[in-house]
């Protein structure tokens, strides 16, 4: 039977959170103790199973735009934001594309910073 303290060590080892000496000592034991090695493998597969549940999707675009709309652009900024919104609406689901589009528009107008005239 593996002691609970060893299982906690395995958990930290799995996360790369053991110090060098402790990790090396554990690795030496892992080479000699099949039960310990088997428990490490189970912990690793369980962690992978948890990771599998992670969503790789981005939030819906409407959620993003609604959160962004908490800050209203100043009147002088609005044309740029309208353009950015149009870019978003035409198919980009990634808001950074919208942001970069906005910056590109501003750079093209010869501005050094993304900061519109007041």
């Amino acid at each position: 039977m593996t002691h609970a303290h060893d299982l906690a060590l395995l958990s930290a080892y799995l996360d790369g959170e053991l110090g060098v000496d402790a990790a090396q000592a554990l690795e030496a034991r892992l080479r000699q103790e099949p039960a310990l090695e088997a428990n490490l493998a189970r912990l690793r597969r369980t962690r992978e199973a948890v990771r599998e549940t992670a969503s790789r999707e981005a939030p819906p675009l409407a959620w993003t735009l609604k959160a962004m709309a908490l800050v209203q652009p100043r009147p002088a900024q609005r044309p740029g934001w309208l353009l950015a919104g149009l870019v978003a609406g035409l198919g980009s689901r990634r808001a950074d594309v919208v942001g970069h589009s906005l910056q590109g528009v501003l750079r093209a107008r010869g501005r050094r910073k993304v900061r519109l005239a007041r």
């Binding site: 609970a4 958990s11 930290a12 189970r42 599998e52 549940t53 959160a67």
Partner: protein, 194 residues
């Protein structure tokens, strides 16, 4: 993803009322919020919670002074929002009681014996994902939080400690206990709470 310096500059610009900076802050960090909502199975309420989090971030943005990373602050706001939501729905019993006191830590090490069972591994991918999501949902909130922060968000023990206000050593023991609890639930599924 932006680095810490970029993020701090963005926050300062957003604090000054620059819309473009707020826009990029939301873009760069929305994945954290969305990921936690997914892990909590927020379902149809996800959109409202997503907006609630960013409403709070916007409301209190002026209080962020950079002592902790912006992402740490955002994790805390999101987790607090989810705790309130879960308590409101009575999906979960209470927080500190779930993990016991600091004094319990040493005792737990002696009381938690046994080789780990192997219940997850025989399932096929979709069934495994479903089983793990259900088991995560049955864990006490703090155990779920620590597992999600480590195994899904892949944060370091130090970062988790900052977010949950725990010492790294406590993160280590509580994380192991959470993993053990998850494995136990996967081995002996319980009825999902309504």
């Amino acid at each position: 993803m932006t680095n810490a310096t970029d993020t701090a500059a963005l926050v300062r610009a957003a604090q000054a009322g620059e819309a473009w900076a707020w826009y990029r802050l939301v873009d760069a960090h929305q994945g954290i919020v969305f990921g936690l909502l997914q892990a909590w199975n927020a379902g149809a309420e996800g959109e409202d919670l997503f907006q609630e989090v960013f409403l709070k971030v916007h409301k209190y943005l002026h209080t962020w002074r950079g002592e902790a990373a912006f992402s740490t602050w955002l994790y805390q706001i999101t987790l607090n929002t989810l705790r309130t939501w879960a308590a409101r729905r009575k999906q979960a019993p209470l927080l500190e009681a779930d993990l016991g006191s600091e004094e319990d830590e040493a005792g737990f090490m002696d009381q938690a014996p046994a080789d780990l069972p192997d219940p997850v591994l025989a399932l096929e991918a979709e069934a495994r994902r479903r089983a793990v999501r259900e088991a995560l949902g049955q864990l006490p909130p703090l155990q779920r939080e620590i597992l999600v922060l480590r195994d899904i968000q892949e944060l370091s023990y130090d970062d988790i400690g900052q977010i949950l206000h725990l010492e790294p050593g406590t993160v280590k023991s509580r994380l192991f206990r959470a993993r053990q609890a998850l494995i136990a639930r996967l081995g002996h599924p319980q009825a999902t709470q309504p």
